[in-house]
Amino acid sequence: MSLRTFKLPTIDFINKRKYAMIFSALLLIVSIISIGLQGLKLGIDFTGGTLIEVGYQQTADLQDIRTKLASANYTGTNVQYFGSDTEVLIHLEPQASSSAKLSSSIIQMLGDDIDMRRVEFVGPKVGEELTNDGGLALLYALIGILIYVAFRFEYRFALGSITALIHDVIITLGVFSILQIEFDLTVLAAILAVIGYSLNDTIVVFDRIRENFLSTRHTEPMPIVNDALNQTLARTLMTSLTTLLVLLALFYLGGEVIHSFAGALIIGVLIGTYSSIFVASSMILVLGISKEDMLPSEKEKKEIDARP
């Protein structure tokens, strides 16, 4: 048997779910503690402030830049290399007089021979709005998905998939909090994409669980769920692998601007794959799914019978 046609062994996922639950609980606790204690390193999209990226001809002298900024009385500045040592990212908190002109005067102060690569200025009010809009977007996406899954499957499936999603979002945020990676609008977009992706995975498994319930005489939920997980395992892994391939390309080749975006997606895809195997299906077992719940209602049954 070659590597290409390898057969996945049948795994008893359900009996291992205790370990998975402990593992998930640990990850969640660590994430929540980190988010609670040190929070997220929010980017200027949410806090307001100014971001300046400049390119130098030779290696940039960060100390010199810091001194210049300090002598001009700028507070809350953060100067670091960005991608290479000829590129510098300057981050300023909202200043006492925070206006769009700030960046022009800083670039002028740094000298003529530098290349202005990027300037972002977000006023305090806009930052507030973007935070609200971002939170709302997350909430609405979850609600929309909840409704669709409850409508297509059953409420227990909806709860199961939402649990898995919240699990994924919290842990992804947790990783961002622990590693103190900057959280900006594009990362928020990535998290929403993770929701979509993780859900995709979960739905495929659920679909199979429903199908198995309807096609076998067995009524024990555990072996049915386990079969479904094993039957979809090849697909789950293949898809995660192809998605990870492109994400890795994006992470390593897409440039600094897209770095944390791709990072969030990679973390999210890994956790999403794990959660659709272990979390979502455990959840519907906990909620007590049974064959009866899967049987179509009388009306639907007639429609199915009427099909050729």
Binding site: M116, V149, Q231, L250
Partner: protein
């Protein structure tokens, strides 16, 4: 079995043909170009093309082509050297009726653009440029409207001597009366002639009325101010010379300004946000400046102003003319090489100026530069608007002779200041102060980097997936690869047709779609494998594999689509760009991964006896 009717194959072929055709414009590069358009009502014509052609030929500047395209003159160049030198040349030779701007022009063959083929429009993060979000200070708009009504109210009530006093309290006008009958009379008059003013409910006492501007009049004033500011901004952007600027309203008090390819962002910021104007006043020569400064008592009819270096000067309160009377302004230098601005006034302004200069010959007149600013700052955790007004005397000189509508002013610090002032006076003033509340600028070098990195990551990610699929699913994998390639082409063609803006997050969305699009094929193929293991007939395995996977694919994709539509409606900027390509990608992937791959599989395996599937 496993056979598509001919019409279905033709239809699929037709869709794919269209996709390829409209994705095609993107493989042609673009030329460095200069775009010349008319300002205001002026539309460039053929004779302008001839004139410009001659100018370029005279100066021996090489160009690729020149012609009228969509009411613009487009000149294409081989290299940036000739592009830049032509810009300087044309800017100096053409009158101010023309806007000369650098641009990139896609070099699509004629036949393709005839059938509507267009390249994707690139976002500012890919081509470089500035994005501003400006907010109009609506409190100031209302407050100015209150001032206006204050004057009108006084005028109509004065005729019959109805009121005792009128004062302005915040945005209310409080009117007191001597008798109740006068109040009733005034109320009727206000109702008839100033219906925009309404009595604040419950505020009426025996001899007093509090009036406020009705909410409809308030919103009319606000939307009027917004529209006028947009017009002014458009004029100013035209003066800056930007190709394809976007200036549009967002919400009820904000304006988005996008200037692709602008390099001097500092100047753009100075120009866009400035609420600057001039006032001409006579110098108060009767009262003693020293006494006024020391005692702090300013004589009636005068106001204390300062030069930029803080030297005080008493000026008369009455204004001779203001910036609103200025119809044209141009900056230049005088004999001593110091910067100056030549002013042209309208008829009314010219008349007043003539009368004043006759009457006050050999007296001094001052030019006051006024600038309004508004800034949002954080104070004790709350955001507050901070307004400030600077009024500097830029020059106070003795009137040497009479003049009317044409004259020069000097006393400016630099040529840059003179240039900016002339531009602001020409473009008209903003009706209310505006503030830049968000800026995103991408320098041209980063834009080019982003395009290159985006392209490379799409290509590498795409190739990895192709290799993997071919290895894992053999013939079926190759079919999936074909579907994936067509999916990419279809996304590009739809983006081009919709002229949706492609951004870096948008490219990330495409990359993600590539990863996820194979999911549909993976689902189908794994299902076919399963069916084969159940020892089914091969043809039946293919069709059940497709049929059973279909619902799952639909469910999975619709939920992802819900998430990306939410992203689209709530997101701004980067989030939106990502949502657009992701949504389009999900929809096209359903078509290519299910329908197109099935059609190809049918062509390969359908209608014949197959011993073994290469899967």
């Amino acid at each position: 079995m496993n056979h598509y009717p001919i019409w279905k194959n033709i239809l699929i072929g037709f869709f794919l043909f269209i996709s390829v055709l409209y994705a095609l414009p993107n493989i042609y590069g673009s030329d460095l170009a200069i775009q010349i358009s008319g300002t205001g009502d002026y539309v460039v014509q053929d004779r302008d093309v001839k004139k410009i052609k001659n100018t370029l030929v005279d100066k021996e500047i090489d160009y690729k082509s020149i012609g009228l395209v969509n009411r613009n003159i487009l000149i294409r160049f081989e290299d940036s050297q000739s592009q830049l030198s032509s810009k300087t040349l044309l800017k100096n030779t053409l009158s101010r009726n023309y806007v000369v701007a650098l641009n990139l022009a896609p070099s699509i063959p004629q036949w393709l653009s005839n059938i509507g083929g267009k390249a994707m429009s690139l976002g500012l993060d890919l081509r470089g440029g500035v994005h501003f979000l400006l907010e109009v200070d609506m409190e100031a708009v209302v407050s100015m409207a209150v001032d206006r009504y204050y004057n009108e109210l006084r005028t109509i009530l004065r005729e019959d001597r109805l009121y005792k006093s009128i004062r302005k309290e915040d945005n209310l006008l409080v009117v007191s009366f001597k008798t109740e009958s006068l109040k009733t009379q005034a109320k009727q008059l206000i109702k008839d002639e100033l219906s925009d003013l309404v009595v604040v409910e419950g505020s009426e006492t025996d001899l007093q009325l509090s009036l406020e501007i009705s909410s409809s009049a308030q919103s009319a004033a606000k939307s009027g101010a917004l529209k006028q500011n947009i017009t002014t901004l458009r004029n100013r952007v035209n003066e800056l010379g930007v190709a394809e600027p976007i200036i549009q309203q967002q919400g009820s008090e904000r304006i988005v300004v996008q200037l692709p390819g602008v390099q001097d962002t500092a100047r753009a910021k100075e120009i866009l946000g400035a609420v600057a104007t001039l006032e001409f006043r006579l110098v108060d020569e009767k009262n003693d400046l020293q006494t006024a400064v020391q005692s702090g008592k300013i004589p009636v009819g005068s106001k204390l102003y300062k030069f930029k270096d803080d030297t005080p000067l008493l000026l008369k309160s009455a204004v001779i003319v203001t910036g609103e009377n200025i119809v044209d302004a141009a900056s230049s230098v005088d004999q001593d090489n110091s910067p100056m601005v030549s002013i042209t006034l309208d008829n009314a302004g010219g008349r007043t100026m003539l009368e004043t200069t006759k009457e006050f010959l050999h007296h001094r007149m001052a030019v006051v530069y006024i600038e309004n600013k508004v800034e949002t700052i954080v104070e004790d955790g709350n955001t507050v608007k901070k307004r400030s007004k600077t009024q500097d005397i830029i020059n106070a000189a003795v009137i040497q002779g009479t003049f009317s509508n044409r004259f020069q002013i000097t006393g400016l610090d630099s040529a840059r200041e003179a240039r900016n002032l002339a531009l602001l006076l020409r473009a008209g003033s903003l009706s209310a102060p505006i503030e830049i509340i968000e800026e995103r600028t991408i320098g041209p070098s980063l834009g080019a980097d982003n395009i290159q990195k985006g392209l490379i990551s799409v290509l590498v990610g795409f190739s990895l997936v192709l290799l993997f699929m071919g290895w894992r699913y053999r013939v079926f994998g190759l079919v999936a690869n074909l579907a994936l390639t067509l999916n990419l082409v279809t996304i590009v063609s739809i983006l081009s047709m919709l002229q949706a803006t492609l951004t870096l997050p948008g490219i990330a969305g495409i990359v993600l779609t590539v990863g996820m699009a194979v999911d549909a094929n993976v689902l189908i193929f794994e299902r076919i494998k399963e069916e084969l293991q159940l020892n089914k007939n091969i043809q039946k395995a293919i069709s059940t594999g497709y049929a059973k996977a279909l619902l799952t694919i639909a469910d999975a994709n619709i939920t992802t689509l819900i998430a990306s539509l939410v992203l689209f409606s709530f997101g701004t900027g980067p989030v939106k760009g990502f949502a657009v390509t992701l949504s389009i990608g999900i929809i096209t992937s359903m078509f290519t991964a299910i329908v197109v791959s099935r059609a190809v599989i049918n062509l390969i395996y359908g209608d014949r006896k197959v011993e073994e599937l290469a899967i």
